[in-house]
């Protein structure tokens, strides 16, 4: 990161890694995405089937994903999740969940939705509030990151870095991490993918589901292939973000959680090794 941000303490071993704007937007997103996920699953439960195209097929087949509660031959309720025509028994989590004495027939279980009980109206109230927060913070971040060089310096990989991808993957597989305070190429690619691809995509597919926005910006329907495809892409982006979250947390834990947490809260980050030992960094 920026050399001039380096602190004097401990002979240069602690640097100021994240600016205030990076830290603030990070935690706003963390809160907003958490509630967007849980309220989004609540909304999804109102009609737990995804389709491709402009409309939902009730008299024809264009569904690609669904969660249903069915009865098996013995009359027991079972949760069935269907992905691209392949069905899986997901009883206990998807389709049918809750204690045996009070089973509920719902897509995602109570522990994964806000509110816990089925309430589409409240799910929408929560979702749209945090959608506004999420999108406004995104624009703020994008604007600030272009102005202060964060985007160019820390997110967009250079040609040389891209060529070092295989080596960086090997390093990660050996759990060798370079703690020089800079993002390695894999971090750049994953953060860049999330911030510059998935975030805009999930905002735009969300807007595509708005009948008002369909009148305002009908091209949204064209680029995403119809409202129901947009809804499916929106859901797929959610899955990618959940995957990113799991890997993100795993990497924080693997790379030294206290140091990593401190840097995203206070900005201060203790670097290890020598700055010349950054391998892929240059």
């Amino acid at each position: 990161m920026n050399e001039n941000l380096e602190s004097d303490s401990a002979a240069g071993s602690v640097i100021l890694r994240h600016r205030l704007i990076t830290r603030l937007t990070h935690w706003c997103w963390a809160i907003a995405l958490f509630l967007l996920l849980l309220s989004g699953l609540q909304i999804f439960n109102a009609h737990p089937t995804l389709y491709v195209g402009a409309q939902s097929g009730f008299e024809f087949d264009n569904d690609v994903f669904s969660i249903k509660a069915m009865r098996d031959a013995a009359g027991n309720a079972e949760g069935v999740t269907t992905v691209f025509g392949k069905s899986f028994d997901t009883t206990g989590v998807l389709g049918v969940s809750g204690p045996d004495s009070a089973q509920s027939y719902r897509g995602f279980p109570a522990w994964a939705t806000v509110p816990s009980y089925q309430d589409l109206a409240t799910g929408r109230v929560v979702h749209f509030f945090f959608a506004w927060l999420f999108a406004v913070v995104f624009l703020l971040w994008l604007f600030a990151s272009i102005i202060n060089g964060h985007l160019r310096r820390d997110i967009l990989p250079t040609g040389g870095e891209l060529r070092s991808v295989p080596r960086s993957i090997l390093d990660h597989l050996r759990l060798r991490f370079h703690h020089d305070g800079r993002y390695n190429v894999l971090q750049k690619l994953s953060y860049g993918g999330v911030l510059l691809v998935i975030f805009p995509l999930i905002i735009l597919t969300g807007l595509t589901m708005s009948p008002g926005m369909n009148a305002a910006w009908p091209w949204l329907l064209d680029i995403f292939g119809g409202r129901q495809t947009a809804r499916t892409i929106h859901f797929a982006c959610m899955l990618l973000l959940v995957t990113f979250f799991v890997v993100h947390i795993a990497m924080v834990v693997a790379a030294g959680p206290l140091n990593e947490l401190r840097s995203i809260i206070t900005g201060r980050y203790r670097i290890s090794g020598h700055r010349t030992d950054m391998g892929a960094g240059k």
């Binding site: 958490f34 849980l38 909304i43 999804f44 109102a46 009609h47 389709y51 402009a54 409309q55 939902s56 097929g57 009730f58 008299e59 024809f60 109570a110 522990w111 994964a112 939705t113 806000v114 509110p115 816990s116 009980y117 309430d119 589409l120 109206a121 409240t122 929408r124 109230v125 929560v126 749209f128 509030f129 959608a131 506004w132 759990l175 060798r176 991490f177 370079h178 589901m209 708005s210 009948p211 008002g212 926005m213 369909n214 009148a215 305002a216 009908p218 329907l221 409202r227 129901q228 947390i249 924080v252 834990v253 693997a254 030294g256 959680p257 206290l258 947490l261 290890s272 090794g273 030992d277």
Partner: protein
Amino acid sequence: MKSFALNRRRFLTSVGIAASTVPFAGCDALDGFLSGGSPVRDVLATANSLTYRVQRMLIDADKLAPEFSSSEIRQGQRPNGSTDPNDEAYLAHRTDNFASYRLQVQGLVEKPLSYSLAELQNMPSRTQITRHDCVEGWSCIAKWSGLQLSQLLDEAKVKPEARFVVFHCFDSMNAGLAGNVGYYESIDLVDARHPQTILAYGCNDQPLQIANGAPLRVRIERQLGYKMAKYIRSIELVSTLSPFGKGKGGFWEDYGYDWYGGI
């Protein structure tokens, strides 16, 4: 370069961080903040007023919702909500095939109106193939025929103090402890005067089916399905929504749904 080693301290820290995310999963912790009437919910709900204002700024009053080709009508219009009203007045009309049905236009108008279904069907009509988006998430494309609501508003001469159009309906819905509650819905005058806002009496080249709102339903193509009242009994021009139901502007709105259904 120090290689990664899982010592005791690091292990405990990792477990601690992982465990700290677990209590969040018990989402019922948030339920109390979100119930109807809680201040937290009221704050969150302001986002919808923001959406309404921003979309009104962004979308020209006459900007049309997308229309589709007839090849995209691949199924019947999926009915939802009340689909077979058994309220007395409605059953009487249904028995005589809506021959004695009359649509009333009243409230803040210079000239209250009353039309039979045949008279409405003889007025200039509009046909549009549009996508119906249910608040639940599904969509269905159908061809709708009817007369533009703006035509009736012009004939009735809306008074300047009128701000909303309220649709009073024949059907009532079971609302739990409150018993049956009459369906009503409301929109602003921007959507009421929109070219695609029609009082539909036909769907997919057939007379409107009971399940889809016969004899008359409204189509508001830039909003979600719950705004498009079926079984319309009368239309009232008003300056405030507070006298109706719980004052939120519609049956579903009284149960927590947003009044603006453009999202």
